[in-house]
């Protein structure tokens, strides 16, 4: 007797967000990156379409990073002191499809770069590197509100993904993103209600839900991974059940969490596997964009994604 399969029929669909604009679209990127668009829970290909694969963004910083583990510094060598050389290695050597730039040097404690010099830096990077760009502030709210509008304007038309908007500091960023044709990262502290609320606040300002990517805030393997894992599953189930305000793709800042752990610092292989497994576990719960650092971990995850989507 044939066993009747149990299939979930969802009415919702995750928004498709496009990052990067080519010349004919008003930008200067060589390619665009599409995420989201799925109509089923992760990796259940026989149940419904998952039109876009999860993508890996390599993380770079405008100044030499201070939170990079020795293993990472050793891997990138002197390039970490020169963001352009660093970006070049990621794109040409490690075949990064997109880059995630952190404007660390604008932080009051780490160089306090002015909005003008931040904007100049963005323009220079855009002219040197042709892949789509994610731009992240330094995390200092007051300073980000000065810097990010300048960065956004410098990248006008390039359809970048810019972040991170948080519940008590989103208006300035939304206004810039709206004006300059980018998309936004909405960050919530492992909290599905805040994620939903922030998406509503942002869309109330006129930025469509199709231009929002949720940063659910993740913990690394062994450091609260399961919280984000379940928040993502819950949000995804709600979205597929028809809640449009949660139907955004997820971006997960994998590397910054993974490399902070004691385990990652213990040995080169353990660091790589920590970043790798944090990433693939989050793919299992719905991650669409993974921000990563170690090329070997990036390659592991990228091979894994290819294998999953091949069959």
């Amino acid at each position: 007797m044939e066993t009747q399969l149990v299939l979930e029929k969802w009415q919702g669909v995750i928004s498709t967000v496009i990052i990067g604009a080519k010349k004919e679209e008003g930008g200067s990127r060589s390619d665009t990156v599409k995420i989201g668009g799925q109509i089923t829970m992760p990796l259940l290909f026989k149940e419904g379409a998952t039109p876009n694969k999860p993508r890996i963004a390599f993380e770079i910083s405008d100044i030499a990073p201070f939170d990079f583990d020795e293993e990472l510094i050793a891997t990138y060598g002197k390039a970490v002191n020169d963001p352009f050389a660093w970006a070049d290695i990621c794109v040409n050597e490690y075949k990064a499809g997109l880059l995630c730039l952190k404007m660390q040097g604008t932080h009051p404690d780490f160089g306090n770069k002015s909005p003008e010099s931040a904007a100049k830096f963005i323009s220079a990077l855009l002219s040197k590197v042709k892949v789509p760009l994610i731009i992240i502030g330094s995390g200092d709210d007051a300073k980000d509100n000065l810097i990010m509008p300048a960065c956004s304007e410098a990248a006008r038309g390039e359809r970048c993904l810019i972040g991170c908007a948080v519940q008590d500091n989103y208006k300035t960023l939304v206004a810039s993103v709206l004006a300059d044709g980018h998309s936004i990262i909405a960050e919530s502290p492992i909290d599905i209600n805040i994620a939903k609320q922030l998406n509503i606040l942002i869309s109330d300002m006129g930025l469509s839900l199709e231009r929002i990517v949720i940063n659910p805030t993740i913990g690394a393997l062994g450091y609260g991974l399961e919280y984000a894992y379940s928040i993502m599953e819950r949000a995804r189930l709600a979205a597929l059940s028809g809640d449009k305000t949660l139907a955004s793709p997820f971006i997960c800042f994998v590397a910054q969490e993974a490399w902070k752990t004691k385990e990652a610092k213990a040995s080169s292989q353990q660091g790589i596997i920590w970043e790798t497994l944090t990433a693939t576990s989050l793919i299992q719960s719905g991650a669409d964009l993974l921000v990563m650092r170690h090329p070997k971990a990036g390659q592991n995850v990228s091979n894994y994604i290819e294998a999953l989507f091949k069959g």
Binding site: T3, G222, Y223, S230, E263, Q270, I273, S281, Y304, G311
Partner: protein, 443 residues
């Protein structure tokens, strides 16, 4: 699927005879649904009703115990598709396959390494669970290799052979250890079932799809073999995830008894990174047992840590002992940061304090495992609770100053806390990530 009180009522005599002690059959049915009274209280209940209710009381996914000694472990008895719906109950057993064509020395060496794979994380011990020996040569070699397993590990064992005669020989010598047999397939299930039945051993059933699998489990049940574990054979990872998900759904959503067993997945990849990623997918997606070959401790630690995360009860967060923890080369002048005893919060703060490279104390207050804001809302991280910890955890004896750093999210308690504790309160950053620069600026 649980029966409602009304469903049960339909099965009762509906005579309101009161012999069960309740006024009506409906009231009795409601108690049955809550499982507060046994069906035996009704002297007139039909056999059909009894069978239905007993079946309902059985777990949707059978609980199976593997092994016999102190290393034995349970799998199955799962009740939800997603961990937030309640929790995942019995952590995936992580096991290792050893091929019998390796030399004796090699096998012993591997077992030694596998036996040593124990880790301590967030106050829990993480262990591996199972060793499988796989036949690649003749029955004699398989028997010798099984002996090596019995003599060189106390972990539960699994016997992998497609030759019923070889499997039986190995089962004979290892029966006291309750080995798991691998596996019954369409071509040989009657013979393998006979071994499982004779020695009362759990058995893996292998078939390429769930139709064949349910057919086989029914046949095996009819033969009296009921301790079964499901395996859908070798296939790409995404197909395996689909099978594992489908088996879980069949058991939980359709009460399909033929598939109401734990499942097993054998990892196909051999590169340690690839192996960990594949094993990780199966741990997250419902496998009762995952078998790998690699035994590098860095690889196994990552797999066991993922299992620990996925199987943590979302309602009972991991906690640490509430006390004053010295971090680095502390002195009487080192700053004191107060936080909760929720493991994740504590370890996050710890990581940042260590990253800041400035020696400090972390005072962990007993919040019963709640995070900062949750504990504050529940009045377990307020001025009273923190003052109590300052007094009871010996802070004043260890430090020579009266300054206390509190998380930025509870800045509102500073006034009260200052009054009650007599400490000067310094409001720290909201997020732990701000601690290194905060401590730097404090100096």
């Amino acid at each position: 699927m649980a029966l409602s009180g009304l469903d049960i009522y339909k099965l009762l005599p509906k005579t309101n005879c009161r012999q069960c002690g309740l006024a009506t059959c409906l009231a009795f049915a409601m108690q049955l649904a809550k499982k507060t009274l046994p069906i035996e209280k009704c002297p007139f209940v039909s056999l059909e009703a009894k069978t239905t209710l007993e079946a309902q009381a059985m777990p949707a996914i059978k609980l199976i115990t593997l092994g016999s000694n102190e290393s034995k472990f349970d799998i199955g008895n799962e009740t939800v598709m997603f961990r937030h719906e309640e929790k995942f109950r019995n952590p995936t057993g992580v096991g290792f396959i050893i091929d019998d064509n390796h030399s004796d020395t090699e096998i012993k060496e591997r077992l030694k390494k596998i036996n040593q794979l124990k880790f301590e994380r967030v106050g829990q011990e993480l262990r591996v669970n199972l060793v499988a020996i796989k036949q690649n040569k003749d029955a004699q070699r398989f028997l010798e290799a099984t002996k090596l397993l019995l003599d060189n590990t106390t972990l539960p064992i699994m016997l992998m052979s497609s030759d019923p005669a070889a499997l039986k020989q190995a089962a004979v010598i290892s029966q006291e250890r309750k080995p798991l047999l691998y596996s019954a397939q369409q071509k040989n299930f009657a013979q393998i079932a006979a071994i499982a039945k004779e020695f009362q051993l759990p058995l893996v059933v292998t078939a390429q799809d769930i139709d064949q699998l349910s057919q086989l489990t029914k046949e095996l049940n009819a033969l009296g073999v009921k301790e079964l574990i499901l395996d859908t054979g070798i296939k790409p990872i995404a197909d395996k995830i689909w099978d594992l998900t489908q088996i879980r759904r069949q058991a939980l959503k359709k009460s399909n008894r033929a598939l109401g067993y734990p499942s097993l997945a054998i990892v196909q990849k051999s590169d340690p990174y690839e192996e960990a990623m594949e094993a990780g997918a199966y741990i997250a997606k419902y496998a009762g047992i995952v078998l790998i070959k690699g035994w590098y401790s860095w690889e196994v630690l990552s797999i066991l840590t993922l299992r620990q995360n996925i199987y943590t009860d979302p309602q009972k967060p991991l906690q640490i002992d509430p006390k004053l923890y010295p971090i680095g080369q502390v002195s009487r002048d080192s700053p004191v940061l107060v936080t909760t005893n929720f493991s994740l919060t504590y370890y996050t703060v710890l990581t940042e304090v260590e990253a800041g490279k400035i020696p400090a104390y972390i005072l962990s207050v007993d919040t019963q495992g709640m995070s900062v804001l949750t504990a504050w809302a529940a009045e377990k991280f307020n001025a009273e609770a923190i003052t109590k910890s300052l007094n009871s955890l010996g802070v004043k004896e260890v430090i020579g100053h009266k300054n206390l750093i509190i998380p930025g999210y509870v800045a509102m308690i500073s006034g009260d806390l200052e009054d009650q504790s007599g400490f000067k309160i310094i409001v720290g950053p909201k997020e732990a990530a701000g601690i290194p620069s905060f401590l730097k600026n404090l100096q």
